[in-house]
Symmetry: C2
Subunit: 355 residues, 2 copies
Amino acid sequence: MADPKHHVVKPYLVTRRLHPENQETPIQFIENDRIQTSLFYRRNHFSYPNLTYSNYFLPINGMVNTPLLISLQSILQLPSKTVEVVLECSGNKRSLFEPKVFGEQWGKGAISQGVWKGVPLRTLLEISGIKEAAKEVVVEGYDFGKRTDLDKVFSYTRSLPLEKAIHPDTIIAYEYNKQPLSFKHGFPFRLIVPQWYGMASVKWIKQISVMASPFNGPFQKIDYMYYPNLENDDGAHPVTTINVNSTIQKPLDMAKINTGKHVIKGIAWSGKGNITHVEISTDNGHTWSKAQVSASKSSYKWVSWSYEWNAVEKGIFSILSKATDSSGQTQPIKPYRNRNGYGYNAIDNIKVMVE
Amino acid sequence: MADPKHHVVKPYLVTRRLHPENQETPIQFIENDRIQTSLFYRRNHFSYPNLTYSNYFLPINGMVNTPLLISLQSILQLPSKTVEVVLECSGNKRSLFEPKVFGEQWGKGAISQGVWKGVPLRTLLEISGIKEAAKEVVVEGYDFGKRTDLDKVFSYTRSLPLEKAIHPDTIIAYEYNKQPLSFKHGFPFRLIVPQWYGMASVKWIKQISVMASPFNGPFQKIDYMYYPNLENDDGAHPVTTINVNSTIQKPLDMAKINTGKHVIKGIAWSGKGNITHVEISTDNGHTWSKAQVSASKSSYKWVSWSYEWNAVEKGIFSILSKATDSSGQTQPIKPYRNRNGYGYNAIDNIKVMVE
C-alpha cells in the first residue's frame, strides 16, 4: 500500500501560456547540464504544425547552383556533427524588467541545454553550391499562423548571415541527448545556431532558401529587434548573440534560512566566449568573491558555479552573481532597457532572511 | 510516426520548492471546478512521512470519556459525509505583496478544490464522548521535522476550537473526487475544514486529542498568525477563515491582444459566505461592471465568472476584478499587510496591451 513512487518529488515545466505552448524550464531545480527533453523549455509562436513525415523532402533553393529536394533518409546518411549547445530565448528573464514589458512573462527558465547531433547546414549548401551573390540563408519552419499586429498569415521564418550559416557548428539537428529529436522540439529537423539566442534555431524545417538581399519577414524585422526607444524605431538593431549572464539556483529567492554554512550555486553562460569567472556578493554588491566554476569543454554551454557562504549573522541579505566572459563582457548592474524586453542580463540577485 | 500525443498541450504544477515539496496549481489554465489530483497544489512543511498502513489505528484521547484506538476499516464503515470544498493556502498570493514578504513565494495558484468524502470529526467525538471541560481539538499529522527558527523537532499539529471541530461539515476525508485520497494529499485520512485556510486541514492524521486548554504548538502560535507590526507581536491574531477573493484567469497578465471582443474570466471565493457579485473594471478602477457569475450549490466552493469586453481602442489597459460576499465583505484596494504575508486578498489586477 505504501508505494514508494508516491514519494517521488520532481519539478515540472512552468506554464506561461498554452496556446501557443510556452513553458519554461524549472531552472532553480536543475542539477545536471543536459536537460531532459520533458523539462526543456518550449517556446512557440503558433500552434504545433501538422507534418507528414512519410514523404518528407527538404527543398534547398534560391541563389544556389543546383536546387535540391533532399529526402529525410539522405540527410541522415550525411556525415554528422555533434555539438553541446545552450539555447536561450531572447525573452528569458523578461519579467524582471522594471517597469514590466509586455509579452511572454518569462522568468529565469527560458534556457536549456544538451547534446545536439545533425548535419552541418554548410554540408547541405556545399551539395547545392551557392552563387557568389549569396548573402543570407533563410530557413522556414512548418509552423505558421496569424500575428496580433498584422492581418496576414505568416510562417515562422528566420534568416542567417551567410557567415553564420556556413559555420561548421551550425547544424540541422535530428537528435537530442542521443535520442531522436522530439516532435515539440522540431522533429524531424531543426536548426541549431550556437551562441545566438534561440529565435535563430528554427524548428520543423520546411525549406532553406539562399538569398542575395536582406530577408524582411516579421520575425526578422519586427520581432527580435532591440528598440532602445519606447516611442520610435530609432537605433533598432537585430537580436543575435547571447549576452553574458548568470542565474542563482540556490538559495531560493525570499527564502528563510538558518545561520551557518550554505552553498550558493548557479549557472553562467555567454554567446561571446567562455565564462572566465563568476563573482558572488552576499552584501548587495559592496564586496565580491570569486565562485568556483566548473571547467567547460565547450564554450557553447553554461558552466556551473558554487560558493560556500558562512551566514554568521541573522538578518536580510541580498545575494548577487556576476559573470564575465573571455570577450571581456561583464553583466551590467541594470539591464539594457528595450521596448520588447530582449536580452535581459543584469547581475542576478535574490534576497534571503537568515533567522 | 506522427503520433497525435505529441501535440497534447497541458499545464503543470508550478514548482516553488522541492524539499519540502511546495508546488502550486496553474490556476490561469484551470477550466473545471474539480481540480484533478495531479494539479492540486501541494503544500508541505516537512518531507513526506513514512506510514505503515497495514496496522493503522487512529488514537482519540485527552478530555474524552472513552479513549479510542479506531482501525482504518472501522472508520470507513461509519456514515460518510461528502463536501465540495475549496482549499486555499493562507500564503496564496504572498508574492504579490509590495514590498515582498519572506516565505514561500506563492503566486495565485495555492488554491484548489474538489469533492471530499469522509467521516465527520463530530461522529468520532460522539463515539469517544467529550468531557465538559473540552475547549479545543488538536489534530497531529505524521509529518515532522526541524524548523529554521527552533532547535527541536516538531510534528505538524494544529488545533480547532470545539465549535469548528464539531461542525457537521468538518470531516476526516479518505476520498477525493471519488477516488481514494492520494498519498501526497494525506492518505489514509486528512482533515477537511471548510471555510478555513488550508493550514487547518491536517494531512496524514496520526492522533486526535481533545484539550481543555489552548494548544501552543509552533504551527498554532508562531506560524499562521497575523502580525500587523513588523517589529513586535502587538495585535497578533490567528489565521482562520478565508478572505473574500478573486483571481483573473484570462487574459494573461502583460499579454498583447487584438482589438475586438475578449472574454475576461476568473474565479471568486470566500470563507465568510456566498459570493454575491463580482465587478470588473477595464479602466483601472474608474468604472465597474458586473460580471456573470456561475450559480454555486455550495458556499464552500469558488464560483466562475466572466465578462465580455469589447476592446475598441489600442493602448494599455489595467483590468481589475473585485468580489463581494454575502457577509458584506469586499476585496480591498490594498492588501492587509502583515509580517508573514498571510491572507492576501486585494482586488486582482492584470495589464494588457491592445494592438
